[in-house]
């Protein structure tokens, strides 16, 4: 494990009225790992992801990504600091083509001005060429290059999920947050997705994923964090976490009671 984690969160708390969705969460994500956040429904997984990405800020706490304090920073600033994400409910840009969806994020690191755009000068053409190349690379990684010019809405559901991953990759992130990336995918599609995640890890991207399907997660994760009722109840290697009595209680105990 690298000495300095890429994500260090301390005491992250988020309340919705009387409900404490996140209750003083501490989270360390070492560089270059695949770490999963699991937990029963309503345990605060997505809320934690939203707090990390700035989509919905935490009330108190400290969150450092790559050494930068990002607590209460605007989401676009967090994205530019190298943290990208996908969404549980797909949020593609429906009025853009597949490649344009990816280009939106690929522009993350290519600042331009209205003057450059209007005059279509060399700097503008250069940056558009960069954006195009990055976007095509990202589509290549998830295997959507052949659909670049289609409308994003023409893609089937599973491919829209892949498009979100490509879009996140196009901003050249250090950390990638995946919110239930396999939701709605069949077995073959899930397997391809796992393969893609493994390749991303090998390319040096740290991946933090929330997943409902625990079995899917255990195979690819180096570390697993378990949440229950907004609290962290366990953390460690998949094999350790699986044996943890608190985790078994949280999952199986409750399932038996409901059944």
């Amino acid at each position: 494990m690298n000495p300095e984690p890429i994500i260090t969160a301390r005491g992250v708390t988020r309340r919705f009225g009387g409900l404490v969705a996140l209750d003083g969460i501490d989270l360390d994500v070492p560089r270059g790992v695949v770490q999963a956040i699991i937990g029963p429904n309503g345990s605060g997984k997505t809320t934690l992801l939203n707090a990390l990405s700035g989509a919905s800020h935490a009330d108190t706490g400290s969150i450092r990504v790559g050494g930068h304090e990002i607590f209460r920073l605007k989401p676009y600033r967090i994205a530019r600091l190298g943290l990208a994400r996908t969404f549980q409910n797909i949020r593609i840009f429906e009025n853009l083509s597949v490649i344009e969806n990816v280009k939106v994020a690929a522009a993350c690191n290519s600042p331009t001005s209205l003057f450059n755009i209007l005059t279509a000068n060399a700097r503008h053409r250069h940056s558009e060429a960069d954006i195009d190349r990055n976007a095509r690379e990202a589509l290549e990684i998830v295997g959507l290059a052949h659909r670049a010019n289609d409308r994003a809405t023409q893609l089937p559901y599973a491919q829209q999920r892949l498009l979100e991953i490509a879009r996140a990759l196009a901003s050249k992130p250090n950390v990638l947050l995946l919110d239930e990336p396999a939701a709605g995918m069949n077995m073959t599609e899930s397997m391809t997705l796992l393969d893609t995640i493994a390749r991303l890890k090998n390319s040096g991207i740290t991946i933090l994923l929330v997943e409902h399907n625990v079995r899917l997660v255990m195979g690819i994760s180096d570390r697993v964090t378990v949440l229950d009722f907004g609290k962290k109840i366990a953390e460690g290697a998949p094999s350790e976490v699986q044996r943890n009595p608190l985790v078994i209680e949280a999952y199986l105990g409750r399932r038996h009671r409901h059944a």
């Binding site: 989401p75 840009f93 853009l96 344009e100 969806n101 503008h124 996140a168």
Partner: protein, 316 residues
Amino acid sequence: MKPPKMNSWPILAANIAAALAVPIVAHDGYIIQLLNIAILNAIVVLGLNFVTGWAGQINFGQAAFYGLGAYTTAIATKAGLPWITTPFLSVIVVMAASLMLGLPTMRLRTYYLAMTTIGFGEIIRLIIVHWEPVTGGTSGLRAIPGISIFGFGPQGQIQHYYLLIAVLLLAILIAARVRHSVLGRAMIATRDSEIAAEQSGVDTVRTKLLAFMIGAVYAGLAGCLYASSIRFISPDSFSGTQAILLMTMLIVGGMGSIAGCIIGAVALTILPEALRFLGQWYLVLYGLGVIAVIVLAPGGLASLASLSQARRASVH
């Protein structure tokens, strides 16, 4: 909103050729004058398309920006300033106004801008109506000096028509260029999902503000040209009704479509005149027509063209 297609160039060229040929066929000054207003409206609607069609923010202040440009130009030229200064003055005035309106409201949700701009339109109208010594009040301003650049300027309606066609082409070119740039994609991304756009690194507040300001500049410049080519302005041309009419042009023509803006603006400028013989029945027909377009072609009239194109493509 579609990705650019190579085959759109012949269509554009054919339309330009047709537009250039119009004055040869139509000698009637009244028709040319009507077309000139249609072109000016098209420029204003193209501006509205940045903020509403692409960035998805409802803006009812576009008529007020149109009016600000027109009154700035009329007042400046009547006070003896050379015409060449008026486009710049108009742009400065509308940029200042749109910045003041946009900065506080763009952080909020869509309908706040809608409400703020309705209020803004009303304020501008009241100022125009009541500041009589300067604006001429309800009777407006007459005999506004014409376009003149170092002594040269268009004479007669047909020359104005060609000048306005050239400006419209430039407005289209700029809109197309923005659409296929970082900024245009960011605008549409902001409209489709503000949160996904933010998480992709798009500063959505800045993007919405830019869209709003570019739109205001389009309206301000169109207002400048309106005052100095029609030579008469009154508050009616820039009222809240006009703001709604501009929005209708955008919706009927096709939100987010450059061709749609022009189709919508030209159709809804000419139809009321062409159907004048219907008297008050025109409004009934107009209402039914708008409903028919929204129900049958939610993408606007421009989407009909691309639909039939797609159908032909699938047959061949």
